[in-house]
Symmetry: C2
Subunit: 412 residues, 2 copies
């Protein structure tokens, strides 16, 4: 499905028909200039699906949302920053109180509310600022670009940029829009942040099919982002589908309509995932490792992630050092069945291509040109295993002094 047509559109989480959003400062953060509570609301109940952290230590809102999505429907998303609501005795009570308060104000069932949190761990999340903030949140709901902006701002932690994208495509003769907001996976002082993503679409699609499409999209995008290898307690990706586009409901994970939807959802997730990788803590460079010629898809994913997660590769990229030995080494310690003597490695940036390794051995290159290629802010690391037809991409960033400062410098 390479020839799917779609176009970028503004509006983020409000691009699709049937959705409103808002973001406020509720008081959870001390800094009154920072928004800390977001609401995304659908005009009516939606098909809904979610994917969550695989960490055994997961936050209360993850547990509550997982349960609320079991029936495949939801209508509203409430998300706070500043506190992860994780590892505290009253976490579930707080997450449930939040859902009930919002549901009551919106006159919807509590189990149609998705709740998420990000911020400090091990500190009880106060309910008052949230419950007291709900009327203002609802009052401010708008179907507008600026409303999506406010929601995107309210979920940020150490992110330096808002992350919101949307695309439109045609499905069954109708214009379908898919948009989303997300926040990064970098970790914040004094505790951990998280990767959160909320997607909305006006596509008509059955819950089970929506879930299949989401799982598939996440596997090749968000799951291929590695900023520091750590997996948070709160990671959450959800999608709400209102059906307001008026297309014939997609009821199977096959066929032309499904393929288009899945392709555009995948592209949205990739765009959001790349934005997260590029905005990794302290990052100066976006790194993309493209593995080709692997024996199977799983190996390809494992190989690409191993390269992108290596602290030695990440620091070498920070230093614009064409150190392919560290790359072949990272491919080697995956445990995948690879043939070293077949591996080709090259770097690619806006400045051009730089082959550095052929058949597992050194390939001569000019150090000055290498410096030029690797001094760009987006570097592709191309690893051709020459041993099959499968490929994968992984996304990450360089490891910098600034990462150490952000995560280590308690006193600042």
């Amino acid at each position: 499905m390479n020839n799917v047509n779609f176009s970028p559109i503004p509006g983020g989480v409000c691009a699709a028909e049937g959705f409103t959003a808002h973001g406020i400062h509720s008081g959870l953060r001390k800094n009154t200039a920072r928004l800390d509570l977001a609401l995304i609301k659908a005009d009516h109940v939606c098909s809904a699906a979610g994917v969550f952290t695989r960490n055994k230590v997961f936050a209360a809102p993850v547990g509550v949302t997982r349960r609320h999505l079991e029936n495949g429907t939801a209508q509203a998303i409430i998300c706070n920053s500043g506190n992860a609501n994780a590892c505290t005795p009253d976490g579930y009570a707080t997450a449930e109180t939040t859902c009930e308060a919002l549901a009551s104000a919106l006159n919807i069932p509590a189990d149609d509310v998705i709740v998420a949190s990000t911020g400090v761990i091990g500190v009880s999340l106060p309910t008052e600022p949230i419950v007291n903030g709900i009327p203002a949140l609802i009052d401010g709901l708008e179907h507008s670009e600026s409303a999506s902006d406010r929601a995107a701002s309210a979920i940020m932690t150490t992110d330096t940029k808002k992350k919101e994208f949307a695309f439109s495509c045609e499905i069954g003769g109708r214009t379908v829009k898919i948009g989303g907001i997300c926040k990064g996976s970098g970790m914040i002082h004094p505790n951990m942040g998280t990767m959160l993503c909320f997607i909305t679409t006006d596509c008509a699609i059955a819950p089970a099919v929506l879930k299949t499409a989401l799982l598939d999209a996440v596997k090749d995008t968000f799951n291929m982002v590695t900023v520091d290898g750590d997996t948070s307690t709160n990671d959450t990706v959800t999608v709400l589908a209102s059906g307001d586009a008026g297309n014939a409901e997609i009821t199977a994970a096959s066929g032309n309509d499904y393929e288009i939807f899945a392709a555009v959802l995948g592209h949205l997730c990739k765009t959001l995932a790349l934005a997260i990788a590029a905005d990794g803590e302290g990052a100066t460079k976006l790194l993309i490792c493209k593995v080709t010629g692997a024996k199977n898809d799983e190996d390809a994913r494992t190989l690409a992630k191993s390269v992108i997660a290596s602290s030695l590769v990440k620091t070498a990229m920070y230093g614009a050092d064409a150190n392919w030995g560290r790359i072949i080494c990272a491919l080697g310690y995956t445990g995948c069945d690879i043939d070293t003597a077949k591996i080709d490695i090259a770097f690619r940036s806006a400045k051009g291509d730089l082959p550095v390794c052929k058949n597992g051995g050194s390939y001569p290159f000019d150090e000055d040109y290498a410096k030029e290629v690797l001094s760009e802010n987006k570097i592709e690391i191309l690893c051709d295993m020459n041993d099959g037809d499968c490929g994968a991409e992984a996304y990450g960033c360089d490891l910098t002094y600034e990462y150490v400062r952000i995560n280590g410098d308690y006193r600042s």
Copy 2:
């Protein structure tokens, strides 16, 4: 076997009877002040065993040594620094030429030579400096502390300290000595370093039993060291046993004599492994994660390594930040079957103990006292899973600005 008596002794790899060593500057390194070629020689053929990198991309000397140790005997070890002899077309020829030249000069079979290399990857290792250096290497062989020192210096890369230790114990009424030298697992610019360890003992022990003891010791020591999670192409640990102590040969991996030997070998490996961890690139602190109360040994090892390998934990320790959320998170994403609600976490240093998490939740502590405890240069991270009887320790170091500088700053 907790009551094994043993004492530290000087002499490193020359502590045991029957061994001589030397280290020279052969010209592989440009800096003439740095030794770059080491020889360790036994007076006669020894029982021998080795453990090697599991990286699929392994260096030629690893391939050659693995083959030479198949028969369980060896008599000499030659090791160069400055070049890893990895990922080049002529690597095997060079490693074999080295073994043959040394074997011929010593009048021993080539397959009784252990060869190892560490340094730059992907650049052909020149044979001339090595072959030409062999007469001087042999001439200078001595059974002395300073000879072990020279060998230990010659295998160093970014190591800031020589690493050599030895212990004596009594086995079957005879004094048995076990000593070794090693170099760190930190990685060097412009290419990768490696973890190398050479152990000698005068214990009489059969090759197969020696191998069992070595595998067992390495599992809980060198394999539990994580500086940056990367596994080199050249990692090698070998042991030579001369039998000169005159004890009745140990022929089974059980019984009192074996238990004593295994305990002292294990202690030596742990001492060397801790020295590697403390001297990790840019490290300011030695970190030891002790997991207790785990369901089984494998889980305990996985949990301890996950904590010690987390970039977030490592930067928090650099910043003396009692950030237990990052620790419980690292325990959670191992995939081990753990019960969050049972986990207790504490920090320990020379300044005292600092409990920070009880039953998976926050435990109140004084921030000033925490700062004091965590500002020491040796920090234990104690994780009690309270869910079984098994435990493990992992060793590592903090992640610092200096690590990023060493590994990323091409221009310096």
